[in-house]
Amino acid sequence: MVDLSLDLGFLRFKNPVLAASGTFGYGLEFKPFYDLGLLGGFVVKGLYLKPRGGNRPPRLVETPSGLINSIGLQGIGVEAFCREVLPELAGLNTAVIVNVCGEEEDEYARVAEYLGRHQGLAALELNISCPNVREGGRCPAQNPEATYRTVKKVKQVTSLPLITKLSPNVTDITSVAQAAEEAGTEAISLINTLLAMAIDLETRKPRLGNIMGGLSGPAIKPIALRMVFQVARAVKVPVIGMGGIFTAEDALEFMMAGAAAVQVGTANFVDPDACLKIIRDLESWAEKHGINKISEITGSLQV
């Protein structure tokens, strides 16, 4: 029997597999497929204070082993979420995490404060890294100072643990990670999508209504893995790795590179029960390799 659980200090997870924000709706969408209580946790789609319309379609384009999206964080807003969705997520026996968004630094704090007044949340994931909401993909995670300020502001208004989600669209991700750590984040998750585009040759138009979008899927896995490795070496807080994880083997690579837990994103679209299969396969891999506790794998890379 393999012990899949992990204790990150601020939070215990029953296993290291979480469903990633933006690919798991508000969780409810996946209820028809399996018991969400089997997950380590899931991160619901990013929320602003108010409902948000999102970007002009088309919003999706497939590229080799990848998917570019420019959804633009369309969503119901934090009030409707707490009123209509959160009660439906009660009693699931898994870590429910909300992805927190903001147009400005203050909005992140206001969303976090609002969520902190409600029961049923295990942590907040600070989405300072969405490439789809500002021109040119700009976001606070592109700058250590803005990252520090945003994390600090949110820390001041909520006692919920914070996971700060980083952008790969930077020159030095370790300095941003360190800024988040210094500001008091309990954990770091990475990577968000890579700013990308695709062109229709016949029309000579961008394939996305928003011109650029964020690339996810197996195509970005090696880059994500490298960044997780770099960040895990640069900070002391736990790192949650993601980026193109489709199999248990992918998840294990991230853990060996230093991730305490992983998030599964785009795979949820292809196989709604992808997370479940990854959890099962992680367990059998550990069994086969005589590993009693899955957390032993974290950072076990031999260099």
């Binding site: 028809p32 379609p57 088309p58 999706l60 082993s65 990848g66 959804i71 209504g209 899927g217 292809v270």
Partner: protein, 266 residues
């Protein structure tokens, strides 16, 4: 909504780049409603990455049928599946067509352009079963784009065909054929599925005739079950304009709710 990883392909028919597959998938087949669709895995690898949305052409007993045209890499791979192979299906998905009791005894138009005919066979069968009188309009660029004409006629439906090049039936767009027919006959309702420009024109005709109807939209989809918000179209509902999900709120929408100019044709 279930995942069937073992749907057996029991019959393959094809005409040039059009395909009609019969699949054994008891759980999905018994739940399926006209206008709903499947998300089908076309590759066991990561290329292409996503499932493909394919509308349900028919469901009878434990079997269902899909009718599709090769339109890209995904449908090309799907077309290469062989008799006896197992397919991985997710479905049935989406909100299908609504059939109202007051259609009983009345004429109802079903307008399909090219591969857009796909969901209308299932719909027309259901209309017939509930006592309505479906008339199928089937338009294509040429006679080769009307492979299901015989099947429809053999099933006892009234079928009016058109071709852009005049090689079969009414010469011209199917929308012109509908306009001509409307001068003589007044249906209770109009259903449509086809290329966006065809449906936009039909919406305009319906508006002029004060004719209610429902249109089935096509979209690139990430998941097919409402999780990604990637397939949205701009819809006017309850006085508000917003992006609704084709996969979950649709694919069928009342024609007067669809805001065409906001939605890229393509």
């Amino acid at each position: 909504m279930v995942i069937d990883r073992q749907a057996r392909l029991v019959e393959v028919q094809s005409w040039n780049d059009y395909f009609l597959f019969t699949l054994e998938s008891p759980e999905i087949a018994t739940k399926a409603q006209p206008g709903q669709f499947l998300m089908i895995k076309v590759s066991e690898f990561t290329q292409p990455l996503l499932r493909r949305p394919i509308s349900l052409h028919n469901a009878e007993g434990p079997r269902l049928q899909i009718f599709f045209q090769i339109a890209g890499e995904g449908t090309r791979l799907l077309s290469q599946k062989k008799f006896g192979e197992r397919l991985n299906l997710l479905g049935p998905l989406g909100q299908g067509f609504t059939i109202r009791p007051e259609f009983r005894g009345k004429e109802v138009f079903c307008v399909g352009g090219g591969r857009g005919l796909a969901p209308l066979y299932f719909l027309a069968r259901e209309l017939l079963r509930t006592g309505a009188r479906p008339v199928i309009f089937y338009g294509g660029r040429t006679a080769a784009d009307l492979p299901l004409q015989e099947r429809l006629e053999k099933s006892g439906f009234e079928v009016l065909v058109s071709t852009d090049d005049g090689s079969a039936g009414f010469p011209g767009f199917v929308t012109s054929l509908v306009e001509e027919t409307l001068k003589k006959r007044r249906p209770e309702f109009l259903y449509a599925c086809g290329p966006d420009p065809m449906m936009e024109k039909l919406a305009e005709i319906c508006r002029g005739e004060k004719l209610a109807g429902e249109f089935s939209l096509e979209a690139i989809m990430g998941c097919g079950f409402g999780a990604c918000w990637g397939c949205v179209k701009k819809i006017r509902r309850n006085g508000q304009e917003k992006y609704l999900k084709v996969c979950q709120d649709g694919p069928v929408f009342p024609h007067d709710e669809i805001i065409w100019q906001e939605n890229d044709h393509g």
